[in-house]
């Protein structure tokens, strides 16, 4: 598969409409950036969009595993940046979605090996060929994060309902500034715990971050199963979480999808407690 082909046929390349480069980031590690990237990449591609997902976690690559493409990876981002192979050669076609491609990270290299300006140029090139370029950022706010962010115009921040994760997202949003229009995905929410007052709620988290809410993903056992298999859950619209990823993709694409919720039926006790709790200073 040659994603470049259709571009080469165009006589006037100046008329090409550039795609959107979106970095998926969080600050804190292990909150679900890679899972989110794989699922949103899949969901966007299932809608017919041309999508490239880039693993910017050089040295700790795993987007290929989550997408089940590890056996197909021959080259990686650094091979392209160092001009050892062409971009086309390095793009790995997805198993499930014809319009989805992966650019894998180098496993035996360091984050400092990435030239930030070359990374910016690479993302710019990808934007000429794809409608969406999703960049899976590594944890942290150092060099690897900078390289992940450099080519993007938009950011999706992934946050779990935990004090440390919210604090880190707050920091990342501060570093991003206004330019990236960060939007929030709350991941691994457990409605039952929220109901019992044992977990921060969507409202609690966003009362602090106050970002446009792109979606809420529950803590979902099927994520583990689908990650084991390497088939993103977003392919399965009959699963609630799979459908939630599809709804987020629709929202990214600009569709007016109903406000994101996970089913939380408030009990009388919750409301009573919230009533008294709300009165407290």
């Amino acid at each position: 598969m040659q994603p470049l082909e259709h571009i080469d046929d165009v006589a006037e390349p100046a008329a090409v409409k550039l795609g959107r480069a979106i970095v998926v980031t969080s600050g804190k590690g292990g909150v679900g950036k890679t899972t989110t990237t794989a699922n949103l990449g899949t969901a966007l591609a299932q809608r017919g969009a041309r999508v490239a997902v880039i693993d910017a976690d050089v040295g700790l690559r795993n987007l290929d595993i989550v997408m089940g493409l590890e056996s197909r990876v021959r080259h990686h981002v650094l091979d392209v940046l160092e001009e050892k192979v062409s971009l086309d050669e390095a793009l790995v076609p997805d198993k499930n979605s014809a319009t989805l491609f992966l650019l894998a990270a180098a496993q035996e290299r360091e984050k400092d090996d990435v030239d930030t300006e070359k990374m910016r140029a690479l993302v710019a090139r990808l934007r000429e060929q794809f409608d969406y370029v999703l960049i899976d950022s590594p944890a942290g706010i150092e060099r690897g994060f900078q390289n992940a962010v450099v080519g993007a115009q938009e950011a999706i921040v992934v946050c779990t309902p935990e004090v440390s994760a919210v604090r880190d997202v707050d920091r990342v949003v501060g570093l991003l500034g206004n330019q990236f229009h960060p939007q929030l995905i709350i991941n691994r929410l457990r409605p039952q715990l929220v109901r019992k007052g044992k977990m921060l709620s969507v409202e609690d988290v966003n009362a602090i971050l106050r970002l446009p809410l792109l979606g809420v993903i529950a803590d979902e056992p099927e994520i583990v199963v689908t990650t084991n298999r390497g088939t993103p859950l977003a392919l399965d619209g009959t699963n609630k979480t799979g459908a939630a990823y599809q709804a987020i993709a629709a929202r990214i694409a600009g569709e007016d999808v109903p406000a994101p919720t996970v089913e939380i039926r408030e009990s009388f006790a919750d409301r009573l407690s919230a009533f008294f709790g709300g009165r407290r200073s």
């Binding site: 409409k17 570093l175 206004n178 330019q179 960060p182 007052g197 921060l200 008294f276 200073s281």
Partner: protein, 155 residues
């Protein structure tokens, strides 16, 4: 009372603890001040305001929020009485305890001020509770201090 109700309904309320810890840690992060200094600041703030009006110390909330390209310090200080506390003088630093507050007035002082911290890129800004609520309704993305990274120019 609240604890009683919570116990009655078997709620541990650890999310409330999480919320409070989060609020404090972010206040500290944003102001680059140690939590003890924030406590001190809160104390001093109350002291100054108490010279003019009687406030309900138990209900004071101090927080910080990001606004476009700045950080604002928000203080919510409920006023119990608009009269000067009895026996208090403007130089009296020890604010008297509230003996038996009258029916609590619904008025609350909302102080908004920009922190004068050394972090670069923090503009001075002020906001009121009303503005804050308006922004919240709009769902506007909060601003932030000077970005450390510049995006590739948008389409």
């Amino acid at each position: 009372m609240i604890d009683f109700v919570k116990r009655l309904f078997g709620q541990s309320g650890s999310s409330a603890t999480a919320k409070e810890r989060l609020r404090l840690v972010l206040l500290s992060d944003h102001l680059s001040l140690a939590p003890e200094l924030i406590d001190q600041m809160k104390h001093d703030l109350v002291e100054v305001i108490s010279r003019y009006v009687q406030v309900d110390k138990s209900k004071i909330e101090v927080g910080v929020e990001r606004q476009d390209a700045s950080v604002a310090l928000m203080a919510n200080i409920p006023i119990v009485s608009v009269h000067r506390p009895s026996g208090g003088t403007p130089t009296d630093t020890a604010s008297p305890p509230i003996a038996s507050p009258p029916a609590p007035s619904t008025a609350s002082a909302s102080v908004a001020a920009a922190p004068n911290v050394s972090s670069p890129g923090l503009d001075r800004a002020a906001g009121t509770q009303a503005q804050r609520r308006k922004r919240r309704r709009k769902g506007a993305a909060p601003g932030a201090p000077a970005p450390a990274v510049t995006p590739a120019h948008a389409t």
